[in-house]
Amino acid sequence: MIAVETAVAIAILGLAAMPATGQQTPASAGQFPPYRAPRMADGHPDLNGLWQAFVTSNWDLQDHEAQPGPHPEIMGAYGAGPAGQSIVDGGEIPYKPEALAKKKQNFEKRTTVDVSSDKTWHALGDPEFKCYMPGVPRATYMPFPFRIVQGSGPYILMAYEFTTATRNIRMNWKGEYPTPSWMGWNRGHWEGDTLVVDVTGQREETWFDRAGDYHSDELHVVERYTPASPYHLMYEATIEDPKVYTRPWKISFPLYRRMEKNVQLLEFKCVPFTEELLFGHYNKQATK
């Protein structure tokens, strides 16, 4: 038994020591034949469209089994989550040991809601559970579509169905973020056919998934959107946060163009679905 444990430990260490990049063929090159996207008038690829990820990473970025929801006694299979494979390069998020404990606590308290004090308002619970804006990169792999609106101005809009969150991508923008925000300070530029978005200034309260994966106020995300076919964008995000992880790490997966006739972004204004949970306790009848 000891020998087995040692072997497992070595395997884990081996994973952790792998470089964050370079061990896999770039996904966009490996999974798709060479592709040249249609151009906008400025010569850059046209990324317009309604896109959606079909990974299950909103439940867990890493490998995960099918799982019951937090209240199977009332939600049954409706509340359950699907199994899925890790989208993290190398499989594991390189947490610092002390940070891993916080992730576990996040998971245990993921459906805890306490808005009785402004100061501890955001202390516990998954922001998704409370219909808060998901931040980046989580917005990209939630089980909802988003629309990219790319025109001829210096901005690209990403409009998400979940809680109608939006991101304004400022192309070739120099200024630093003025104040933290839920969807971050998004500065874009082109590297060949790849739209690169540098995201800073995200509120530290956002999570990456329902498993409690999280970051600090030093989060820095660099996203890469590369056309891979008329129907696919390859998505990569490099995630850096020296307070929480031992090194930068990367996720990647394809985005799929929604092809249904006349499909459009609909509303998921989820605030009304959370009001009883958040505020019902303070109604008149509740205190009688």
Partner: protein
């Protein structure tokens, strides 16, 4: 211009910010000449075009103005102010609202300071054409009289009014007593767009086949297909409705249907089955879009009515900020817990 008139305009200005769901007073007035010329079609047709040939509305725009939606009662049939009257009006409004006044006692003083903190300074200017109302039709500048409403709609209005009264009295009973904006469900993201106390910026994005309008007042994007597709099926309703646009020359014309069946969603409590809103956007020069909306609902008003609001381009370096309304909606808990405390102390109003 006498000061009573100014005060009444000032009140009308303030009431704009709570216009949703409130019933306007209507007064019969002598019709005045129509101030508004037909919507300007642009001096040089085709002057502002995207590379793919659509009229170009892209940019960040601001619709703040102190001109009230409806012509104030005291102004009679006067539709346009003289330069002097306009100057006087703006000065008086600025004086009424400034935090630097000290009359009225500490509570009023604190309220003024609070409002001043939020106030978009552009709210102190009336429209460049010095109109006395944003409404340009009917000619009296006022929302037309209502038709008699069936009892069930009167009941919904009365319930909404009672909830507003509880809120205003500091005794909300339930989170649904608050308006949709206070609950962070819809704010200025739903048509018609009207100026309010702050966050009057709108960013317009375009791509081939789409115009998208994102307001600063809440994080949502109103995505308007301009590719000729049909509306959503009638059983799929949305808080912002379902918008479809088309181009008439340089003008974007948008029609919106499929609103959710919930009090406060449709402007001024219109009737969901018959309410029709048509918006028109036309860029008249490098720095101005004329925005017009027409509301037609024969089961609510005796005739259609139209308002026009100029949108001014703002310096692109004056960035829009994310407005996380629900995420930090501390107010809602404060209002409710405050009401519970007051009840425990036996306060009833």
């Amino acid at each position: 211009m006498n000061h009573r008139l100014l005060t009444s305009i000032g009140i009308a200005v303030v009431s704009l910010s709570t216009a949703a769901g409130q019933v306007p007073k209507t007064t019969a007035q002598a019709p005045a000449k129509v101030v508004a010329k037909a919507t300007a079609a642009g001096k040089k047709p085709g002057a502002f075009r995207t590379p793919w040939g659509d009229p170009d509305l892209q940019g960040v725009w601001n619709d703040a103005t102190s001109t009230p939606l409806q012509r104030p009662g005291g102004v009679g049939s006067k539709d346009v102010l003289t330069d002097e009257e306009a100057e006087d009006f703006q000065k008086t409004l600025a004086f009424d609202l400034t935090r630097d006044r000290r009359d009225g006692g500490p509570e009023v003083d604190v309220n003024r300071a609070y409002n001043d903190h939020w106030m978009d300074a552009r709210r102190l200017k009336i429209t460049a054409d010095r109109r006395t109302s944003l409404i340009v039709d009917p000619p009296d500048g006022r929302i037309p009289p209502r038709v008699p409403l069936p009892p069930e709609r009167d009941k919904v209005r009365a319930e909404r009014a009672a909830a507003n009264d509880r809120f205003n009295a500091g005794l909300p009973q339930h989170y649904t007593d608050f308006s949709l904006p206070v609950r962070c469900i819809i704010r200025t993201d739903s048509p018609p767009y009207l100026p309010t106390i702050y966050n009057n910026d709108f960013q317009i994005y375009q791509s081939p086949g789409y115009v998208v309008i994102a307001p600063e007042m809440i994080h949502s994007a109103r995505i308007i297909p301009v590719d000729g597709r049909p509306h959503l099926g009638k059983n799929l309703q949305q808080w912002l409705g379902d918008s479809r646009g088309h181009w008439e020359g340089d003008m974007l014309v948008v029609e919106t249907t499929n609103f959710r069946d919930y009090p406060g969603v449709i402007f001024q409590g219109g009737n969901r089955e018959t309410y029709k809103i048509t918006e028109r956007f036309v860029r008249i020069d490098a720095t101005t879009i004329n925005y017009e909306f027409t509301i037609d609902d024969p089961k609510t008003w005796t005739k259609p009515w139209t308002a026009r609001i100029p949108w001014s381009r703002i310096d692109p370096n004056e960035q829009m900020y994310e407005y996380a309304c629900h995420e930090d909606n501390y107010d809602l808990v404060h209002f409710l817990t405050g009401a519970r405390s007051r009840e425990q102390r036996g306060e009833t109003k």
